[in-house]
Symmetry: C2
Subunit: 191 residues, 2 copies
Amino acid sequence: MTTKERIAEAGLRLFHERGYNGTSVQDIVVAAGVPKGSFYNHFSSKETLCLDAVERFSGNLALENLAGPTVSPVARIEEHLRHRVALAGRSDFARGCLLANLAAEIPAHSPVLSEAVHGHLQRWQAALAETLREAQDAGEVARTVPAEALADYLVSGFEGAMSRAKLVRDRQPLDAFLDVTFDTVLARPAA
Amino acid sequence: MTTKERIAEAGLRLFHERGYNGTSVQDIVVAAGVPKGSFYNHFSSKETLCLDAVERFSGNLALENLAGPTVSPVARIEEHLRHRVALAGRSDFARGCLLANLAAEIPAHSPVLSEAVHGHLQRWQAALAETLREAQDAGEVARTVPAEALADYLVSGFEGAMSRAKLVRDRQPLDAFLDVTFDTVLARPAA
């Protein structure tokens, strides 16, 4: 792995677990095992590195699976969200969602990071809305609420549950949110 | 206002808007307009002051209104949550919910604060569950999902929407979450 890559990976991990203000450049170079001076050869600031972390994290959300044609649209959404729960479980839920963490932490600190986080949440929401429209067209989900509002609700609820899972280091809040969602909001409408 | 009170109020405001690691003791004494030395006469550490902030914030959640006998249980829940939206609107949604912010930020930094935040979220959830049980007993809400799971879902979703409202400085994510909730999850069951 190149020095730049080591710094980027250590940054993503530390920002994810300890937050933006809870992570110093010093923490990052120590975790990456590189000399402190090398940091600024690759990144102009901690903010720039955190932007890189947001891109890396968001690139792993596998939004393309939401558009896959193989199963029903609702099943694809459920698979997508349960897959994210499984990924979070790999670090015992100690990290939460990087986007949710930064949404709660950085608005007063970095307009650039806020904008990036917002952009990725919107892209995720748009992909969910597209799949929900498919589900409504297929009669899988009632049209009571527009697909865009349902997607908005899903993002907020899932992100809130991720933060609570981080707090208790347990999947339970995520399971509760998904169970209510798929048993009521996204339940197949009565014929 | 006493010096202690000024420090406590400045601490609550700064932790709420800028987070725990984004706020220094220096920031707090400057905002409070008190000499730095006076801080440690009243609080043993930043962590102790933040615990005080969590107590103050949670004391203002008006959970007692959830038990009020005047209107329907679901109307009480909706009033309670819309009231919290109105409170957040007073600072243009720039602060989010202190409990949600800390849940996302401090698990890796302070077990004591994590425990306090968890305790208050659980108390809030228990008060919501009690009101939801009433609603189910009154036939206002379907029994498809247990009251405790519905309360869990409400806390996660509302907290997630609060963080997104903080990110965009707008009430829209909160309105979307509440609309979906009251139009579907907590809609009166078909007779």
